[in-house]
Symmetry: C2
Subunit: 233 residues, 2 copies
């Protein structure tokens, strides 16, 4: 159904997951339009990582959108709250962590939807993951399904016969180790990706936040050498 | 179920519809948190109208968010395309007009959802209208229902027992004349509102775009004097 070189919009944070996602989309032969956000996050060095990934994988275009989510407050990633360290990672937890940014994926997907409509792209790629989602409500498959339903009513696709929009989540059911194995087989340079919620001034990972712990365990489990640059203790 | 002074988030453009919406929400006794957007629209004088309305109706807080939708192109409201003038208004039309901004309401509602989650607000007010929607897909009741469904899966409401989020659309089934009659009865000062897609440098309405035509016909039909300041022909 989908032409092999059809345009797709892909949300690219510059982290391990979205960089693997980019490799998968390119592997499918798409023209990738990558979208990143400067949203007031502490770890704005991830924008640099996104630019590196976009260049390395030859995207058709990369837009970095400025949206200041700090205006609403409410998250350790965008306000002065402390990022939790060295807490036990239970990926089955029902508790929403303090690092959750309210409605972040909904906002990101909505910008992607706007761009997709302008490009007449029919697919939006997002690197959400249900297994390692750390309790974020907007990383669950039922959320993505509801978003897709809404997206098809929100746009020309819902009125004109332009073909259904799909939200692609190839990482949804993968473990962190699966993601790393997949990316490694596609040639992802994980040294260039960043995952830490609280890196030091030079961009070195803290090694202790939820995201660092998941990433480190993933490399270990995948049997792939961990190229992450950790801050000296 | 809802406490009379519960916080609500309300999308306020400064136009006739959203100012009436604000009067309705205040009439219900809510603490209104009003949200406006500077999104690269030609008619940025509507931000001034939004500020006047927010002040006149005593909102709890008014945020004007900067999001530059021009980066994606694709609409006469945000790019260099010509705004259509003096075309016959057929509100039953299935054709999407050139003034449609891709995914605009989806983006606006997503910011409202983020703020609602931080405020623990359970209601979001948006002034969409199915009768006068001029063919915009994101003004239809089935779109709003799908958005609400998605919103409840996107947020803490979907995981924790915090109460369902509702998207309130009291104008949905009203004609423009109904809206004007309702607002007039609540004391809305329509001279302070703006609707024109292509006003002159002094903010005077063109009188000929779709929005001006609908507004003018609405006052006529409502039997309410039209206080709109039109540009000299």
């Amino acid at each position: 159904m989908t032409a092999p070189t059809s345009p797709v919009v892909l949300l690219l944070s510059g982290g391990l997951d979205s960089t693997t996602l980019l490799a998968i989309a390119k592997g499918e032969g798409h023209d990738v339009y990558a979208l990143s956000f400067r949203y007031g996050q502490r770890h704005s060095h991830e924008i640099d990582a996104a630019r590196r990934a976009a260049e390395a994988w030859g995207v058709a275009r990369h837009i970095v959108a400025d949206i200041d989510l700090r205006m609403f407050g409410g998250s350790a990633l965008t306000s002065a709250l402390e990022v939790p360290k060295d807490r036990p990672i239970d990926t089955r937890s029902e508790e929403i962590p303090v690092t959750y940014v309210p409605a972040r994926n909904t906002i990101f997907l909505s910008f992607a939807l706007a761009w997709a409509e302008v490009l007449q792209a029919r697919q939006i790629f997002i690197g959400v993951n249900a297994l390692d989602y750390s309790g974020y409500p907007d990383c669950r498959p039922e959320y993505i399904a509801a978003y897709e339903q809404m997206a098809n009513l929100a746009t020309r696709a819902g009125v004109e016969d332009t073909g259904r929009i799909t939200v692609r989540t190839p990482l949804m059911a993968m473990s962190k180790a699966d993601i790393i194995r997949t990316g490694a087989s596609l040639g992802v340079d994980y040294a260039a990706t960043t995952s830490c919620y609280d890196p030091d001034a030079n961009g070195a990972a803290c090694g202790h936040c939820d995201s660092c712990q998941l990433r480190r365990a993933g490399f270990l489990q995948a049997g792939v050498p961990d190229p992450t640059r950790y801050a000296a203790a």
